[in-house]
């Protein structure tokens, strides 16, 4: 059974992983640990889902062709 400190440490490592803030060695070490611990797998997948949900559901207003043309016209003047 993991204690609270281990849980927090896992969360920190997972967060750093998805922030691309780990070295290649640390990434590999984390993925190894994830595969060996069901709690870690769950935590990893939850964080992955949360990140993907936010990234794919944030509103992204479209860029009109007029805006692009205005930009081109401005610097070509």
């Amino acid at each position: 059974m993991t204690n609270r400190f281990d849980d927090q440490e896992m969360r920190n490592r997972v967060s750093l992983f998805f922030d691309k803030a780990l070295s290649k060695e640390d990434e590999q070490s984390l993925l190894t640990d994830v595969n060996q611990d069901p709690n870690f797998v769950k935590l990893f997948n939850q964080e992955k889902s949360a990140r993907e949900f936010i990234r794919s559901n944030v509103r992204r207003p479209s860029v009109s062709p007029d805006l692009i043309q205005n930009i081109r016209n401005a610097y070509r003047d």
Binding site: Q8, R11, S15, D19, K20, A21, N45, Q46, S49, A50, R51, F53, I54, R55, S56, N57, V58, R59, R60, P61, S62, V63, S64, L67, I68, N70, I71, A74, Y75
Partner: protein, 202 residues
Amino acid sequence: MILSRPAKTTNDEVFESELLPHIDALKTFAFHLSYDEDDANDLVQETYMKAHRFIDKYEQGTNAKAWLFKILKNAYINEYRKKKKRPTRVDFEDIVSYHDSDDSRVPGYLDLREEIFASMMGDEVTIAINSLPIDFRTVVLLCDVEGFTYEEISKIIDVPIGTVRSRLFRARNMLKEKLKRYATNLGYEDKRGRAKKSSEEE
């Protein structure tokens, strides 16, 4: 008489091939800073005007996206806070006091079950992000939406990497708390604590 079109300059080629392709990402960032599509268009246009004016400062093949985001961030601070007559320019250093890791009001980490996401519509994410204070919103947009690293974010918003990390920690917890509230309003109930308590009592 045949008039020949002037050959494209190298700067124009760089502008078209390296800078303009980031316009969608810039528009998204500008929109979530200004909350207004027209203002976002103005910000994006101003960003590219400045980028073209200072294109000699840009090193071809380097991080165009980060460079443009920094220009846009500065344009936002300079123009839109003045325009909206915000009481004071937020001093980034003041935000350090927000990031007290011993703050007992905020849990260390907020969990959000995968199944909650499945039933949410996308608007909740936009509403939740846009309700964050500007400095928290910025780091979430730069890291979680646009995928910048801590170092890139640090350079874009001119704060130390440690501050980027602590803001992200706080911002994500705030975001998850807001999304958890939406989930509760949809009828989801967090029964995990109840189940754990009853097993401890046995």
